[in-house]
């Protein structure tokens, strides 16, 4: 007996010894070796393109932000337009002519000189329909735009019509060497794309000819490079951050924020409400494959207001976000100083008022179940995307909140493509809970959401004519803010839209999630901003101090 057991043990250990290297191969092995002075953090997926003109996803946009030289930069911290490659710029009073004066002696990263010819070529490339650049749309009528270059340092752009926030558009146009598009390999920004390994990392190295210097004349950027690891998994990201493999994390889920806060309180920062909103809405589309009586509920203002009044937003923020969110009643967040309006009157949590409102609208309670005037029990489903913990929690909390009104809610998490198909194509859903990311504080960027004929007018997409008078009024107010050059008038129009939305509740705003970030204490020069990219908007001024 003993001999057999011993033999088996010995055999096991000797074979296991062969596998020892496999076991020693731990999880950190995939992080590429870090170069001295290199910054590192993660992005969620592979950038779809490195061509700055063709950027149509968030991670490509980050790479463009870090590599592209632009005429004007929208400062994420001060929220103002600052000249970058341009020494100065001005807009004619009719808003149709822009004049840029370039700095002298500008160079691309390969040492070739940067002139107005390159600028004109880069802008024209973006405007060309063949390029398919998403930015072109923002010029409203890109085909009518003409560009003059009277000398090597002057660029004049003629627009066929006034464009609101024209300066910000140039924040998205990379200046590349004329006729030599390089997919980020030759740039006029702080970094250049040095290496890309699909599904592993993107490596950037500093542009040796970058024009900017710090106050003491030291050339920027400070960092010896940037490595963006492609990593979807927060668990890994946080572990590697704790090990010093990553210098920062720019969007922490609340539970991981709390975890890191327990371990290293100095590394995390709650920057307060973001510009983003989380909201719920009912499907009001007349073509939706829903029973007529359900459509009638969803199109009823009293019903939507009652639902909004039944939701305890403070609980959502406290429980679903562990306190790292702010109750929301409108689409403009308090973080958006220029556009926030504290005077908006919106339905607040008040279950009694909700019940009274429903009774007035013909609903009645029968054995604890809410019924409409025809006797149909009120029940519906709330869709949300699977994998978002906070949203699922909010939906479950709302489920109980609405049970207090006698409404039976089913929560259905779906994977993103299946969810989008229902929202955008089949309209086969009752209610949906999702978030909206606002990268631009100017509400003009939300035109697509508010204009009734837009496919992104979520509660009733692509209306031929506004379905209701209030939607027509929103259209008018949004168009007014888009055509006016007077800031006060624009603010007034946007305030009006906010009040209509608060009254009608097509979107039931729930919370503004807070911006939660983490960064290493060794990372100097950091100035967290609420706008994306929150921590690395001033990447050229970031540097690591001390050894790791």
């Amino acid at each position: 007996m003993r001999t057999l057991k011993m033999r088996i043990w010995i055999a096991t250990f000797s074979i296991a010894a062969l596998f020892a290297p496999a076991l020693a191969h731990t999880c950190a092995a995939q992080a590429a070796p870090r170069m001295p002075g290199e910054l590192a953090w993660t992005i969620g997926y592979d950038p779809k393109t490195f061509d700055p003109a063709k950027v149509d996803d968030q991670e490509s946009e980050l790479v463009r932000y870090l590599t592209a030289g632009v005429l004007l930069r929208f400062d994420r911290f001060t929220q103002k337009i600052e000249p970058q490659l341009a020494e100065s710029w001005n807009l004619s009073p009719d808003g149709k002519t822009l004049t840029f004066k370039l700095y002298s002696g500008l160079q691309f990263s390969d040492g070739s000189s940067l002139t107005s010819k390159d600028v004109a070529w880069s802008i024209r490339r973006v405007l060309l329909p063949a390029t398919g650049a998403p930015v072109a749309e923002e010029f409203l009528s890109p085909s009518g735009v003409t560009i003059d270059t009277p000398d090597l340092r002057t660029v004049i752009v003629h627009l066929p019509q006034r464009v609101i926030g024209i300066g910000k558009i140039f924040d998205e146009i990379a200046i590349e060497p004329a006729s030599r598009p390089s997919e980020g390999r030759v740039t006029s920004g702080p970094f250049i794309v040095a290496e890309y390994r699909r599904s592993q990392y993107v490596r950037l190295r500093p542009n040796p000819h970058y024009a900017k210097h710090d106050a003491s004349g030291h050339p920027l950027p400070y960092a010896a490079g940037v490595r963006l690891d492609i990593l979807e998994n927060h668990e890994q990201e946080i572990r590697l951050f704790e090990h010093g493999e990553y210098d920062l994390i720019d969007s922490l889920p609340p539970d991981y924020f709390e975890l890191l806060k327990k371990k290293t309180p100095s590394s995390v920062r709650d920057l307060g409400p973001s510009l983003n909103t989380e909201q719920m809405w009912f499907n009001q589309a007349p073509q939706a494959p829903l029973p007529a009586w359900e459509k009638a509920w969803f199109q009823s203002r009293s019903f939507r207001v009652a639902v909004s009044q039944a939701i305890h937003r403070a609980d959502l923020a406290r429980i679903a976000y562990l306190g790292h969110a702010t109750p929301a009643y409108s689409f403009v967040s308090p973080a958006n100083a220029a556009w926030y309006d504290s005077k908006i009157v919106a339905p607040r949590a008040d279950v009694a008022a909700a019940k009274a409102g429903l009774a007035n609208a013909g609903f009645r309670f029968h054995d604890g179940v809410l019924q409409d005037s025809a006797g149909h029990p009120v029940r519906f489903s709330i869709l949300t995307n699977a994998g978002n913990d906070a949203r699922l929690k909010m939906a479950t909390l709302i489920q109980q909140d609405l049970a207090a009104l006698g409404i039976q809610v089913t929560v259905v998490p779906l994977d993103f493509p299946a969810l989008i198909e229902r929202l955008m194509h089949t309209q086969d859903y009752e209610a949906c809970l999702l978030g909206l990311e606002n990268v631009d504080p100017d509400p003009n960027a939300m035109m697509n959401i508010w204009l009734s004929n837009s496919p992104n007018h979520q509660w009733d997409p692509s209306e031929k004519t506004p379905a209701t008078s209030w939607e027509a009024e929103i259209d008018r107010a949004m168009n007014r803010q888009a055509s006016s050059s007077n800031d006060a008038e624009r603010k007034q129009a946007v305030d009006r839209v906010q009040q209509i939305v608060a009254d009608e509740q097509p979107f039931i705003y729930l919370v503004y999630p807070n911006v939660l970030v983490a960064f290493s204490p060794q990372l100097k020069g950091i100035q967290p901003a609420v706008l994306e990219p929150e921590l690395v908007w001033n990447a050229e001024s970031l540097r690591l101090e001390g050894t790791r």
């Binding site: 001999t3 596998f19 999880c27 398919g132 699909r198 890994q236 992104n456």
Partner: protein, 285 residues
């Protein structure tokens, strides 16, 4: 049967499987909700670009029959198409990942079988086999793979091979223990033991030969389990392998990549079946 005939038969069977899998996967993926939608449609900045890509895809995949025939003809010409999410040829995407996943699979399967076999031999050979061996195996089966991987990350111990091997070993052990136990309790073996025949001799001459068909029948079960554990393990440990790719492809409805991955699944499964049908020749002992 002559080997040549057998080889032709096997080839015909494999081809039939590959064709059925190709057709079946195409239909499943194409008919799944969300094939013609994209998360970027919700973002007004990127919506136009996304819609343009979708309408191109809609034109390409309008008729199921046409789509099927183009996929089949593509594959017969050795062209697996272009990935929808990465925009590069599928083979280029898969080649580096195949080695990663293959290595992971082979190492964890090997380790798992060594662990499971030796544990099962030890546990079944004893006179009064205790729960001592069953408990750890049950514990390993009750913990979700993802949780096991997270615990490894937290403890900074063990990697993907470790997690996969433990999981597979626990499963295989459950089967092997039963099979071996039954062999040890055979009347003629009990008699031989009573007569004082040495355990080692019994094992090599009787137990292993008697159970080898059953053990080899487990091979395909084991490989199928390993394939299904690949996705969570690769996703959590962030290993650039086929499991991770398959997951991303499924979430992005990347048909060409999914087809290539299921093709490889089909080949792996038929190979596993072949391994099961031709057990190593223990009978000689």
């Amino acid at each position: 049967m002559r080997p040549a005939v057998a080889a032709v038969k096997w080839l015909a069977r494999t081809l039939a499987i590959v064709f059925l899998v190709l057709a079946g996967s195409t239909i499943l993926v194409r008919c799944a909700p969300g094939y013609l939608s994209d998360a970027r449609e919700m973002d007004s900045r990127y919506a136009d670009a996304a819609r343009a890509e979708l309408s191109a895809e809609a034109a390409r995949s309008g008729s199921m029959l046409h789509m099927l025939s183009s996929e089949v003809s593509g594959w017969t010409h050795g062209n697996a198409g272009i990935s929808r999410q990465y925009g590069i040829p599928v083979f280029e995407l898969i080649r580096p990942r195949l080695a990663v996943t293959g290595g992971l699979l082979l190492r964890s399967l090997g380790l798992a079988w060594v662990l499971a076999l030796s544990a099962a031999l030890l546990s079944s050979a004893g006179r009064n086999p205790s729960m001592l061996w069953q408990i750890p195996a049950t514990v390993l089966l009750a913990i979700p793979t993802a949780a096991m991987a997270t615990l490894c990350l937290l403890g900074d111990r063990g990697g993907p091979v470790f997690v996969m091997a433990l999981l597979l070993a626990a499963r295989d052990f459950k089967f092997l223990h039963r099979a071996l136990r039954k062999a040890w309790l055979d009347p003629h073996l009990l008699q031989a033991r009573a007569q004082g025949m040495r355990m080692y001799r019994l094992l090599v001459a009787h137990v292993l030969p008697a159970t080898s068909p059953q053990i080899s029948a487990l091979a395909s079960l084991s490989i199928v389990t390993a394939l299904s554990a690949l996705v969570p393990v690769e996703v959590i440990f962030n290993i650039p392998g086929l499991g991770q790719l398959a997951w991303n492809a499924a979430m992005n409805r990347d048909l060409p990549v999914l087809l290539a991955v299921t093709m490889m699944m089909a080949v792996a499964v038929t190979l596993a079946g072949m391994a099961s049908d031709h057990p190593p020749g223990w009978r000689s002992a």
